[in-house]
Amino acid sequence: MTRTRKFENWMLTSGTFVAAALWIFPLYWAFITSIRTEERVVSNGAGIIPDEFKLGAYIDIIRNTNLINWYINSIATAVIITIVVIVSGMMCAYAISQMRFPGRRILYGVVLASFMVPIQALVVTQFILMNDMGLINTWAGIILPQLVVPVVIIVYKQFFDAVPKEMREAVVLDGGGDYTLLFRIYLPLNWGITTALAIITFIMAWNQFLWPFLAVTTEDQMTIPVGITQVNDAFGVFYARLMSVALLGAMPVAIAYLIFQKKVTEAVMISSGVKG
């Protein structure tokens, strides 16, 4: 390697880390702000180097808002959504991939077509439906419209299609049916993709804003993303508290991502049709 190449490489690597530092700066700044007092945050000397470590803003948020309720609502709805989406999607994909029944092609066509439709355009009529069913301000009302995730079926179908046919024979000879095949062969063979899809479904459900925002009007029924917009109204411009509540709201998904980084990456790549 020549000298100029080496220098270029060094420049590019340092450039990358300068860019990365700039990219992470808003999160760093939010954290620094959250551990200062409100007075310090708006004072002239408040530089970008941390100089205080006060947890007052966090304590205030936990004491004076419905944060705990919002966590419970978010965790419960996101977990239920994840389980229903994965199980129903897997079952449907298995039938489409491995079985013969009338309407199979049409069903898959509908799945592909619904993948192309913007669910946001349906919020008005979904709201009317949930209201008719008396589900506004309930977990069921938050959950139901989020249960259609066609991409899960599309991904599972591709993976089930790729399972060698010979794997079926042993089970079929023992008199096992399709449920046995699905849960004893197809699911265990695809644990990797199942966990990847489950994590990304959970993160997406946790982050959902528009629908829970419409489906909930009482503060104690709100999910985290909807609830933390209320803090803004309640406090006005108290930025230490605003940043604490933002970071508290982001924490569960941020931790989930940092632990399962590889899985999240894999899920994003596969569900967009690009293999990494």
Partner: protein, 294 residues
């Protein structure tokens, strides 16, 4: 006879397997879609019955200045985001793939992290970063313009500012797709080109870029569709203002339906958005298939 009962049994089992998805789909997707079309031809309030008024809602749309403004703003936002975010993501992906091992994982995590944040977290942080009095970025703005700017309250700054926040938030997704695309390029191509004495720029222009074109097309079209659905950031950062300069279609659907109680008119607007996005998606599907991806 045995064959026939077997066949019947298989259909019954298949029906039980697809039933959960099909029932949920019919209830919360298909039925609302049909209702949307139906409502768009009526003057119903959000809750309650209305009268059939034929195409009146759609005729009204054509002369509704707010609708035309929204349409224009959606277009402007697409210009501000789609190509910039694609170019930026490609640049970042090229920088990140050069790195190895733990360094690469770290850099990737930093660029991807904002994507998994809930949208109000993103808007809270940027409201603070750009606060008129105390925002940490105001000195930067002052350096370029001579005075601080209340970006989300300024008709010229509001859309570019929302676009920048959106790019920061969602760019990691595109970076990931580009990295996947780059990993799929066989290494021998680069080795062969390097043996022929190709420069860094030639490697990019002759090897990387052409082989990366399918992923680029995917990112561009995904972004185009995604950015049309703009709502959350605008609602939280500027509520469509000032002077409607950040008003967009989905915000109009929300206002008409939930604040002005015009269920029928809101449905008509939603239906227009629905058709635009569905048409673009079909086009995307065809384009990518022709591109040989599926």
């Amino acid at each position: 006879m045995a064959m026939l009962t077997n066949r019947r049994k298989e259909v019954a089992v298949a029906a039980s397997l697809v039933a959960p998805f099909v029932l949920i789909f019919a209830l919360v997707f298909l039925y609302p879609t049909i209702r949307l079309v139906q409502l768009s031809f009526t003057d119903s309030p959000l809750i309650g019955a209305g009268n059939w008024i034929g195409l009146d809602n759609f005729k009204r749309l054509l002369s509704d200045r707010l609708f035309l403004t929204s349409l224009k703003n959606n277009g402007y936002f697409i210009l501000l985001t789609v190509i910039p975010t694609t170019a930026l993501a490609l640049g970042i992906a090229l920088m990140v793939t050069r790195l190895r091992g733990k360094l690469q994982a770290l850099a990737l995590a930093i660029f991807f992290l904002p994507y998994i944040l809930p949208v109000p977290v993103v808007t809270h942080i940027w409201t603070w970063m750009l606060d008129f009095q105390f925002g940490v970025l105001q000195p930067v703005i002052t350096f370029f313009t001579g005075k601080p700017v209340a970006v989300f309250k300024n008709p010229y700054w509001v859309m570019p500012a929302i676009a920048a926040v959106t790019i920061w938030w969602t760019n990691g997704f595109n970076v990931l797709l580009f990295i996947a695309g780059l990993r799929n390029i066989p290494r021998d191509y680069y080795e062969a080109a390097q043996l022929d004495g190709a420069t860094r720029w030639q490697l990019f222009a002759r090897v990387t870029w052409p082989l990366l074109w399918p992923v680029t097309a995917l990112v561009l079209t995904l972004q185009l569709i995604l950015q049309l659905k703009l709502f959350d950031q605008v609602y939280l950062l500027s509520s469509g203002g000032p002077f409607n300069s950040s008003y967009v279609l989905l915000l109009m659907v929300y206002r008409e339906a939930f604040q002005l109680n015009h269920g029928g008119y809101a449905s008509a607007i939603a239906l227009v958005l629905f058709v635009i996005i569905a048409a673009l998606s079909v086009l995307q599907f065809q384009l990518l298939r022709v591109g040989g991806r599926r």
